[in-house]
């Protein structure tokens, strides 16, 4: 017999976990939608953010939240200057730009991970936060750890901010124009290099900031990135490739599926169920759950 309290808590856990995935999926979806780059380094931006949170929080009163503004700025700058390199290998007379982008970002991910391992070693690092310590217990509903709730809220707010930027500002219109047709956008006088760099910088900043939150929820270590790269791929396929509003729904679906499967079937089959889910979505609706993304091809 299903215990109601556990069921509700499991659903809460799934929603909060989905919120954590949203933080990673938003940036990844943006990068894919605008730059048409499937970025293998997404998980490593999460890792770098988490590691920096672990290193910098003790310098800022053991408060990981205070690290986030620095990470946002720092990674925007990093992304801004990395993007031209990606642009360089995915354009020109190279025969398979998508593959070139994949290979380049795979190398980037390896480089980031290797650098952290070499310089800092393999140990776990705590990302402390006294502001987000503790939890809210809602009677008859369950426990909401502040840090998980804050992470989910961050993801949703970041998504809303990006949506606002994309649909209500001149810069956003330029980015959407680039996503629609790069050549025509250039002919219209849009400085596509600059806007692509802004888009990639925003993606890197958001993903690394998500990493700080994820470090606070779990822990930070150099090997953590791969898992988030995999989930970012799950997110965009479920959401519909490049379709930002679908990210919240795909996060919720992934989080709930993972939680309910772990508790009521077995933790052993969670990945199997997730892969089956992706497989079915690709078969039935290649443009994502809402059918509004690009076709996965």
């Amino acid at each position: 017999m299903v215990e109601t309290g556990l069921l509700i808590q499991t659903i809460v856990n799934g929603l909060l976990l989905g919120g954590i995935y949203v933080t990673v999926g938003v940036g990844f979806s943006l990068a894919f939608g605008v730059l048409e780059v499937v970025d293998f380094a997404v998980g490593e931006y999460v890792m770098l953010g988490a590691i920096l949170g672990g290193l910098a929080a003790p310098l800022l009163g053991s408060e990981g939240v205070f690290v986030i503004p620095f990470v946002l700025v720092g990674f925007f700058v990093l992304g801004f200057f990395v993007q031209p390199l990606i642009h360089h290998v995915t354009t020109g007379d190279r025969p398979q730009p998508l593959l070139m982008g994949l290979v380049f970002t795979f190398g980037l991910a390896t480089f980031f991970r290797g650098t952290v391992l070499t310089v800092l070693g393999p140990n776990n690092r705590d990302v402390p936060s006294s502001l987000l310590q503790g939890s809210l217990t809602v009677p008859s509903v369950g426990i909401f750890p502040y840090v998980r709730a804050a992470t989910a809220v961050f993801g949703v707010v970041a998504l809303a901010a990006f949506m606002y930027y994309l649909y209500n500002t001149k810069g956003g219109m330029a980015i959407r124009a680039i996503a629609e047709d790069r050549t025509n956008a250039r002919l219209m006088g849009i400085k596509i290099n600059r806007y692509q760099s802004i888009a990639y910088g925003s993606y890197a900043a958001l993903t690394a900031a998500a990493g700080v939150f994820i470090g606070m929820v779990f822990t930070a270590n150099p090997g953590m990135g791969l898992q988030y790269t995999a989930f970012a791929f799950f997110m965009v396929v479920l959401a519909g490739m490049g379709y930002l509003p679908g990210v919240i729904l795909s996060g919720i679906v992934l989080g709930l599926t993972q939680s309910l499967t772990a508790v009521y079937a077995s933790s052993q089959v969670v990945l199997l169920v997730l892969f089956a889910l992706i497989y079915v979505v690709l078969l039935v609706s290649p443009a994502g759950i809402l059918g509004k993304g690009e076709w996965a091809s």
Binding site: E3, G5, L6, Q9, T10, N13, L16, L17, T110, F111, F112, R113, G114, T115, V116, L117, T118, V119, G121, P122, N123, N124, R125, D126, P128, S135, T137, I143, P145, V147, R148, V217, F218, T219, A220, N221, P222, G223, M224, Q227, Q258, S259, A262, V263, S266, S267, Q268, V270, L271
Partner: protein, 458 residues
């Protein structure tokens, strides 16, 4: 200076700087990695604890070979000097090197009135079982070694042991814990660290004896060979003690512990026992704190006394119970080469600038056992094949008192050639993260904080 020349210089500088930076980055993935967090030693099958942040060193007697009729004992050592297990491999190497250095400083091994130094040649297992087996084969065929000191991690050891059988090569590993190694019945392989099923069972029993006796436990584990064996040994200990096992769950690495904790909290056990790697310990404790899950105690075998666990779990690490077979504060008699555990710890600190863990200690003990066996064998180096075969008989009958504990190898049963005589220690982390030995009773140096304070009381 012309613009053209300036541009070329800048380009050359950028190329050089870029190449250097890339080399640094890729070094971590190809060889500069290490392990202990998510890629931890135990994650690949268990290999003992590896804390601290020390790096690998090149000390010790690893110089070139001297060929036939040499004036020293020559040992091969297979360990991971690159790849994910590099950190643990380095710990193992430090253990072997410290033995060799100390023996040589003390005048060598005396056999038949003559003293012989020790030389160790290393082969890199690259953190992969297949590479470890290849490296062992190449080393044996090219280096004419008298015996071999074993690799880091159980998975690599399982691949190397058959090579030792094929070459009839005496082999002692100082850092492998999977019971599968000993269940295979390898004639030429021995190990100084008791198998994890012994350690988890003995320390689990010590924990269950704490007052008030636990009536129920919840057992979880990561579904990998080492961690699974640990969790199963914990379950056996609980069942033998008549304690109710409310649930036994295995899950993959990377699972979300929110659900694990929610289920466990719903079951309401007295104790939570967990078999896994350090990353999973951290995730479990963090989730327990977030969801206010407060049983009377958490026990994780192994690695709670490592820097990686303490750094990862932060303040939440306090009061965690764990298992080990050796600490510098352990009550061991001392014996050959080092007078006591603390004397060994001082020597290790002086040599490498970091505190040794039980993997390093077990590796040094492996060298000491060979040292005593060479003496008992009485043959001058290089050893003939008959000598090597005779050495196996010597090892089967040998009893050595060391700073690490008394070493004696089983000669039959499922722990064939494993040293199961070293007492396992139940430890608990203090508020400052330092480990205290709290069980079994005759080894305890302090009282356990038990039941542990709930999260709201900390």
């Amino acid at each position: 200076m012309s613009d053209d020349h300036t541009n070329k210089s800048r380009r050359r500088f950028l190329k050089t700087a870029g190449a250097g930076a890339i080399a640094v980055g890729f070094a971590g993935c190809s060889g500069g990695g290490g392990s202990s967090g998510s890629g931890s030693p135990s994650e690949s099958g268990g290999g003992g604890s590896s804390g601290g942040t020390s790096t690998d060193t090149e000390s010790g007697g690893s110089t070139g070979s001297t060929g036939g009729g040499r004036d020293r004992f020559k040992l091969g050592a297979v360990t991971s000097l690159s790849g994910d297990l590099r950190f643990g491999g380095g710990v193992t190497k430090r253990g072997y090197d410290l033995w060799a250095d100390t023996v040589n400083q003390n005048g060598g091994i005396e056999v038949g009135g003559e003293s012989y130094d020790v030389e160790i040649v290393y082969a890199d297992a690259q953190s992969k079982p297949s590479s470890g087996a290849d490296a062992a084969s190449r080393m044996i065929s090219s280096e004419n070694v008298d015996a071999v000191l074993g690799p880091y991690s159980s998975n690599v050891t399982l691949a190397v042991c058959p090579i030792m059988e094929q070459n009839s090569m005496p082999h002692i590993t100082g850092s492998a814990e999977s019971p599968q190694i000993w269940q295979q019945g390898f004639e030429y392989s021995f190990g100084t660290i008791p198998t994890v099923s012994i350690i988890a069972s003995e320390t689990g029993e010590a924990l269950l004896n704490l007052d008030p006796n636990a009536e129920s436990v919840y057992i979880t584990g990561v579904n990998e060979p080492f961690s699974k064996s640990t969790a199963e040994a914990m379950r056996t200990a609980a069942e033998n003690a008549g304690v109710e096992v409310l649930d036994f769950q295995l899950f993959p690495r990377g699972a979300d512990y929110a659900n694990v904790v929610s289920q466990a909290k719903s079951a309401g056990p007295d104790l939570h026992l967990h078999g896994g790697h350090i990353g999973s310990h951290v995730n479990l404790i963090n989730a327990a704190e977030q969801f206010d899950y407060s049983p009377n105690g958490f026990m994780m075998h192994y690695g709670v006394n490592t820097g990686s666990y303490k750094d990862g779990a932060g303040a939440g690490a306090a009061h965690t119970f764990g298992a080990t077979v050796w600490l510098p504060s352990a009550d061991r008699s001392g014996g050959v080469l080092f007078d006591s555990p603390s004397a060994y710890a001082d020597a290790a600190q002086a040599a490498y600038g970091s505190a040794p863990d039980y993997t390093q200690a077990g590796s040094t003990a492996a060298g000491i056992v060979f040292q005593e066996a060479f003496k008992e064998l009485g043959s001058a180096p290089p050893l003939s094949q008959d000598d090597k075969d005779e050495l196996i008989s010597v090892l089967e009958g040998i009893e050595v008192n060391t700073f690490y504990g008394d070493v004696r190898f089983e000669t039959e049963g499922e722990y064939y050639h494993n040293n199961i005589n070293t007492t396992s220690l139940l430890i608990q982390l203090a508020e400052d993260g330092s480990p205290n030995i709290v069980g079994p009773e005759d080894q305890a140096v302090g009282e356990a904080t038990y039941p542990i304070p709930s999260w709201s009381e900390r």
